[in-house]
Amino acid sequence: MTAVLLSVLALTLAAVALTRRRLLWGIAVLGVHSLVLAGLYFSLAAPDVALTEAAIGFGLVTFVYLLSIRRTGRIVVAAVECPGLLYPEGEGAVGLLWELLRELSTRTHRELELRWVERDEVQALLSTSEADLAAGDLIPSAAEAHFPEVEFLPTRIVRARLGPGPLGALRGSREAELLPKGGRLFPHRGALLSALERGELGGVVVNLLELRTMYLGGKLREAEVEPLEDTSFSVLFAPDEEELARTLEEVVAELRERGEWDDLVRRYL
């Protein structure tokens, strides 16, 4: 009976471990799986094997994995889509930020893992450390001010008014905080644009890059544009990733020193 129960437990743990996304979780769950296997060996009248498995499979193997992932672990990026800065292409992305992130990955010997998210998910992902950093169409809002940040590109938040009606902005963004009373919030850019299309909105509060994209997309051609705040695009980091933030700062500083920065900005923006 014990053996059957332990078997089911061991199988579940192995399946859970191998289907995790984060390596750390996989390793931790696999350690517990090893311990359950040791119990199973014991119940199958093999105390020698159980002892060895508990000492080596549970203790040492787990530890060796943990020691090696620091060197080879991934950087999980919460990516907010933004043409010119970070835009999905194939398994990776294109854009100015993508070049920066690639340089960061090379320098830290850690692989990038992009997770495309909406603007309002960023804060939760960073504060739970589920993502190591967030990048893209990202100007830190007041609620996100406590995360380590690297500012890399100055921009401006503007109000573009087409006519009467409420203004719209993306939920969770700095733009939303600058929205006058009565404004409407949208979960992602698609919803904002279609509301604008349907004429439900009298205008939007956006940053210059988005304004340009919308302008090129044929909307807002007749809009009246008025600046609200001078600010800059940033990369936000999870609270315990200050070291990573410093490395990115170094990357940006070196690119500026070598004069490659302006080329990059010209190429993508």
Binding site: D48, A50, A54, A55, I56, R71
Partner: protein, 212 residues
């Protein structure tokens, strides 16, 4: 497509293995290993097999272990070391290390010395002693511990243990020597070898990472 192919292959594998496995059941009578174990001076059937009938198997596997450790050394040595200063752990870990380390060492010695009588033996003993070293490394900082342990002494210990095992194994086979004392000696030497190997892994992985 890819997933379907993999699932198909795995289903086939499971099918073949299950058919083979059910062919092996029901099992025969329990084997009579006690006479054999007594002949080797052991009360533990597993120890009698590992250090008796299949002694050379075990010795060569210890050599595989040592060879893998040489590989780890060789692969990780040219890589750059972590430059950040090593921060020693907080007081709790240090106090607990002081408290637990003697227990861990004694327990591993007990396992090695009583491996022929009950569950235990050189392999788990070595692994547990290695974990004790790990605890010490957490409390002291890995670089400091590795300075105190002297790479040269450890290498001498490692190759001495292997040499001792091989000489003892061959000699006991040639002259037909058997007995409990021999098994204890084997277990202790295997324990030393595994301890040093474990320390090599932890040290090299750790020092190329910066801290434990």
């Amino acid at each position: 497509m890819r997933i379907a192919a993999v699932v198909g292959v795995l289903a086939l594998l499971v099918g073949i293995l299950l058919v083979g496995a059910f062919g092996l059941f029901p099992l025969g009578d329990s084997p009579d290993w006690e006479k054999l174990a007594r002949a080797y001076g052991a009360e533990n059937g597993v120890a009698a097999v590992v250090l008796g009938t299949r002694l050379y198997d075990t010795l060569l596997e210890v050599m595989v272990f040592a060879l893998a450790m040489v590989g780890v050394r060789y692969t990780l040595t040219p890589l750059s070391r972590w430059k950040e200063p090593v921060v020693p752990e907080r007081g709790v870990v240090r106090e607990m290390a002081d408290l637990l380390l003697p227990v861990v060492i004694v327990f591993s010695l007990y396992l090695a010395a009583s491996g022929h009588l009950g569950p235990g033996g050189g392999f788990p003993a070595g692994a547990i002693a290695g974990s004790g070293l790990l605890l010490l490394a957490m409390a002291k900082g890995i670089e400091r511990l590795s300075r105190e342990l002297h790479e040269g002494t450890l290498e001498l210990l490692e190759y001495g243990a292997i040499g001792g095992l091989l000489v003892l194994g061959v000699a006991s086979g040639l002259f037909g020597v058997r007995g409990s004392g021999l098994l204890v000696l084997f277990n202790l030497l295997i324990g030393i070898e595994v301890t040093v190997g474990t320390w090599v892994v932890l040290h090299y992985f750790g020092s190329h990472r910066g801290e434990i």
